[in-house]
Amino acid sequence: MQCAEQYRVQAYFDGEVDALSAIDIERHAERCPDCRTLLEDLARTRAHLRRELPFETAPAPLRARIGRALDAEIGAPRVATRALPAPRTRPFWLGALGSLGAALAAGAAVLLLMPVRPDPVLDEIVTAHVRSLMPEHLTDVVSTDRHTVKPWFAGHADVSPVVADFAPEGYRLVGGRADYFERQRAAAVVYQHGAHVINVFAWVAGRDALPEAATRSGYHLAFWRVGNLEYCAVSDAGWDELRRLERLLRDLGAREQMP
């Protein structure tokens, strides 16, 4: 592959370019047979890897071992912490700033005690996602059939979100669950993508602006709105994987909105 654009094409494939560059690269690939082949090869290699390689999970004994090690760590905090860097000698001017720093720190402590988080719903969603990953918490209704999952929400949640199995696109419908947040019974539709669980939460919109896309504790959160419902997809899958599911659900939602 000799084309000078190969890195940009790869970045496009990996979802690392903005929309304008993406259009530019798509146009280029239309004209450049090398880059078209490259895109096909990248997609084939990815599909092949994700299909063939086992998504191993940590063995239970290891999990238990780590738990015991952490217990021991809490029980007997080490005095000499080799892992901690030695305290640095402070430059002289820090001493002069010390008292001011203490005053600022006290102020900051007060601020930290006050609810200054811009949007608590982000934390609620991440907590709900993490809780769903605990054994036996993932789904209330297990089904890969949207005709089973969707009616289930009628009796268990305050909303009726779009539900579909996107297995051919790589997003397998696993089931549904009801969660409580934003002061209502929100619906959670669970998808599996490779080794990743994606929760798609839906609730009745009650705010002027959607939260911005965000990353919390290593989980990505993407928000969108269809009709009077707000959606949030959350997962440790990559951004482009999350966005692809968002696009699928948006398109489906738009189609369902049509009379």
Binding site: L53, L62, E73, T127, G238
Partner: protein, 183 residues
């Protein structure tokens, strides 16, 4: 913050990434037992350093620690090997997974393909293999991969390109005669 609070926050924020840490360690290490040790040490270090964690990307932070633990364990092993077995060469680079021998008994076509692929990935240079797996299996962004490996993003991109081309080339070589075996 009390120790119990810390433990609870650690459980909520870091433990969900145990599987990713384990998978990464499995590819880095020579044996499952080594991987277990690396992951346990990484979680201990992560717990001790948890108070100093800034920013939100816990997964990249954890995998960075896993990588560092692997590197120091590997250095120690090499030192021991150098003392105990002078003259005996280290295994060639890129033998992370034991190359599985042919097993005609259970070789269904699917299992065969998986083993071939695992062997080809194991044969990639270490520095290519890790960016490839972080991207394709852990679905990390270039920025996250750069954080884990300590490389500039440009280097991540060029290594990723070479890893993908290398794997694809070897795959086609292996399966020569089977046109477009990779659907």
């Amino acid at each position: 913050m009390t120790m119990d609070d810390k433990r609870e926050r650690f459980e909520a924020q870091v433990m969900p990434h145990l599987d990713a840490a384990y998978r990464f360690a499995r590819w880095l290490s020579r044996s499952p037992a080594d991987a277990d040790d690396v992951v346990q040490e990484a979680f201990l270090r992560a717990f001790r350093g948890f108070d100093r964690l800034r920013g939100s990307d816990v997964k990249a932070w954890l995998l960075t620690i896993v990588r560092n633990c692997h590197a120091s364990a590997h250095r120690q092993q090499q030192r021991r090997a150098a003392v105990a077995l002078p003259g005996e060469d280290d295994e060639p680079a890129g033998s992370a997974l034991p190359a599985p021998g042919p097993d005609p008994e259970s070789a269904s076509i699917g299992a065969d393909e998986q083993r071939t692929l695992e062997r080809l990935i194991a044969a990639l240079p270490d520095e290519h293999r890790e960016v490839l797996l972080l991207r394709e299996m852990e679905e990390m962004s270039y920025r996250e991969i750069a954080a884990v490996t300590g490389l500039p993003i440009g280097t991540v991109m060029s290594r990723l390109a070479r890893a993908r081309a290398g794997l694809r080339g070897r795959w086609l070589e292996e399966t020569e005669g089977e046109p477009r075996a990779v659907r």
